[in-house]
Amino acid sequence: MAKDLFYLFSLNNILIMILIFVILFVLIISSTPLFEKGFSKVVYVLTSSIWDPVYDRYGIFFAIGGSLVVALIAIIIALILSISTAVFIVEISPSKIRAPLEMMVDLGVAVPSVVYGLWGLFILTPFLRDHVMKPLIDSIPVLKNFLGSYSPSGTSIFTAGVLLGIMIYPFATSIIREAIKLIPFDIKEALYSLGLTKWEVIKNEIFYIRNSILAGLLLAFGRAVGETVAVAMVVGNIVNPEFYKIFTPGYTIASLLANQFLNATGIMIPILYFAALILFSIGFIVNIIVALYLHRSFHR
């Protein structure tokens, strides 16, 4: 009998699906006051960059752009950090310290994001300002036009991206690490038998597990684009239409929600729900793209 009840485990799947649809439903219902104002109003909110509760004028383009730029920077940093860490742990480090190293990297996941945020605000932010942004802008003034002049306090989209990159890299590292471990020994032997050096073998291994890396980064992206507390502390929280100038302060959708939701009134509430809906959609679209890519590459 007990065996037959095994199907109950599949209920979890259905519950998760229902939950996601309920969330989506709530977001859409809660933003209907905005939809009722007409299509042109929705387009205006999506494409303009203004946050003026006194005159009830809102546009969330700056936050959408900020979210994407911050997530992109975080992904790039996490990619570099996680691949090198995973390769070092599995292939290079002496076996004695391998387990402790793995534990230490995994500990990075257990640190609460508010602690990352405080560390980012008091240590990382001044460091990046004095040792990365300031020297870069001072030595190559032309960069000011693309990156923006660094903010005097150091909080910026770039800082948020770097902090997020550090926050999410343990996720990506554990997935990539396990993937490297799973490479069949035959393949490694074959690579070495071709006379490749250790570095060339590692290069080939990374190419071999590229789908796992993508999956790891996808997980990391999910956290990066939705991370709230830590980002709200270091991103600067300023309405910045030129969010591509990464050295200037900006907003992400999540930090906008964190900052504005508690005291929201009137039309601001549906607009914040709408922003959350956009955030949800971004995550959804990225997941679909990656899933399609993985599907294609597995069936080639």
């Binding site: 008091f122 306090s153 929280n237 300023i238 309405v239 900052n259 504005q260």
Partner: protein, 420 residues
């Protein structure tokens, strides 16, 4: 992952070494300060007070038509069954509210239990409106929208102030010598122009002309960085009300509210901080910046507080005395508690009076008058206690400013008249 004993030991040893090194590196560079001594304040309550509290106001009730008695005596009723009141809203008032609640719980021998959730002023108003909380607290009175909804519901309601606070303008100018020149002097018009981006440098003639003659030349030729709150807050509301009242161009272009569209952000010289601690950190770590916070945060972090020009032309600091002076003047204009109070905060801002500090505000509590009887009794008992004994220096935490009898008396009068 397989863990053998050696690697686990190694891991722990590495962790301890890293921890010790990090502690000493951090401590020597000043990055991590040693944990400060935590002072526990215990308020002991004499047992006699639980049976009878009498508090006398003179000169308050004479102005009211409610009662002929010139003084006011209130006895906390004996609660025989346990009553639970749920309230929530303003996060500013939260520490003070929790302190009052715990004292009051002891006073009623645990019979009145009040839960106050610090959910923010906007959420406080909304929860009160929907009836999910018995009472709401907010840094601003009910907004026009919410007020109309309450009126439409047909239920009786009142609002009244419970405690005061103020906003300090803080600055970070390394060249400024506080010992010799005293606090920097600023006026509402100048601060408005700074946040509009019209005044760009600290040595602008308009700022210099406010200072004493011997200190006018200290101000450096440096760009002003303007820090402000990024989240919605009553602090921003009070600050922008002050700017609106003192500089008409600010009122026309920006206005006032929990969040405003800061013109200085467009110039690239704006910094947003989340919470008082965010703005304090921004001003502290950014040279040549200006910001506004609750005075307690400025004092805690050692930020200099500017003296602001009041309506009478004097430069004043946010001391208790100066802020209470503003409350006293504003109390005269308090409308009946069931009307729209949108302009009430403005009546405390930039008040006349030789000592009145120009940025002062109160926290408002809202309640429906048709609460169930036991809850209504508990509500009345709690807030009348808060507005009498609760305003004494013994119960008011630092960072809050007690209401003067003129204002507290009016609030008590409202509670007594409307919640019989």
């Amino acid at each position: 992952m397989q863990i053998d004993k050696t690697s686990l030991t190694l891991f722990i040893v590495i962790l301890i070494i890293v921890g010790v090194i990090a502690y000493y590196v951090g401590a020597s560079s000043g990055g991590i300060s040693a944990p400060s001594k935590v002072e526990t304040i215990t308020i002991s309550i004499p047992t006699t007070i639980t049976t009878l509290i009498t508090y006398t106001y003179t000169g308050v009730m004479t102005t009211s038509a409610m009662s002929a008695t010139p003084s006011f005596t209130y006895t906390i009723p004996q609660f025989t069954t346990q009553v639970t009141l749920n309230g929530g809203g303003s996060s500013f008032v939260n520490p003070q509210m929790q302190s009052w609640i715990s004292v009051f719980k002891d006073l009623t021998k645990g019979m009145v239990i009040i839960n106050y959730q610090s959910i923010g002023s906007g959420a406080g108003q909304k929860s009160f409106l929907e009836g999910s909380l018995d009472f709401g607290a907010s840094d601003i009175p009910l907004t026009k929208d919410n007020y109309e909804k309450v009126k439409a519901s047909g239920r009786g309601f009142i609002q009244f102030p419970v405690i005061g606070g103020s906003v300090a303008v803080v600055y970070n100018i390394p060249e400024w010598d506080n010992q010799r020149c005293g606090p920097l002097r600023l006026s509402g018009e100048v601060v408005a122009k700074i946040y509009l981006g019209e005044i760009e440098y600290w040595d602008d003639p308009e700022i210099r002309s406010l200072q004493t003659p011997e200190c006018q030349n200290i101000l450096p030729h440096q760009k002003i960085i303007g820090a402000h709150r990024s989240d919605g807050s009553g602090t921003t509301a009070l600050f922008t009300m002050w700017l609106s009242k003192t500089y008409s161009k600010w009122n026309q272009t920006v206005g006032y509210g929990l969040v405003v569209n800061w013109p200085i952000d467009q110039t690239g010289r704006g910094v947003g901080g989340k919470g008082n601690e965010g703005v304090t950190a921004a001003v502290k770590s950014t040279k040549y910046s200006i910001g506004y916070v609750e005075p307690a945060y400025a004092v805690k972090e050692g930020l200099p507080i500017a003296a602001l020009r009041n309506k009478d032309g004097n430069f004043v600091l946010p001391t208790n005395e100066n802020v209470i002076e503003a409350f006293k003047r504003g109390a005269k204009e308090l409308p009946p508690p069931d009307q729209y109070w949108g302009d009430v905060p403005l009546s405390f801002i930039y008040q006349d009076g030789p000592k009145a500090y120009p940025i002062a505000g109160v926290v408002f509590v809202f309640v429906y008058t048709d609460l169930p009887k036991d809850k209504r009794d508990a509500f009345k008992a709690f807030f009348i206690w808060v507005l009498t004994e609760g305003q004494s220096s013994r119960y008011v935490l630092s960072g809050y400013i007690p209401l003067p009898p003129e204002l507290a008396g009016k609030a008590i009068e409202y509670i007594n008249t409307y919640m019989k």
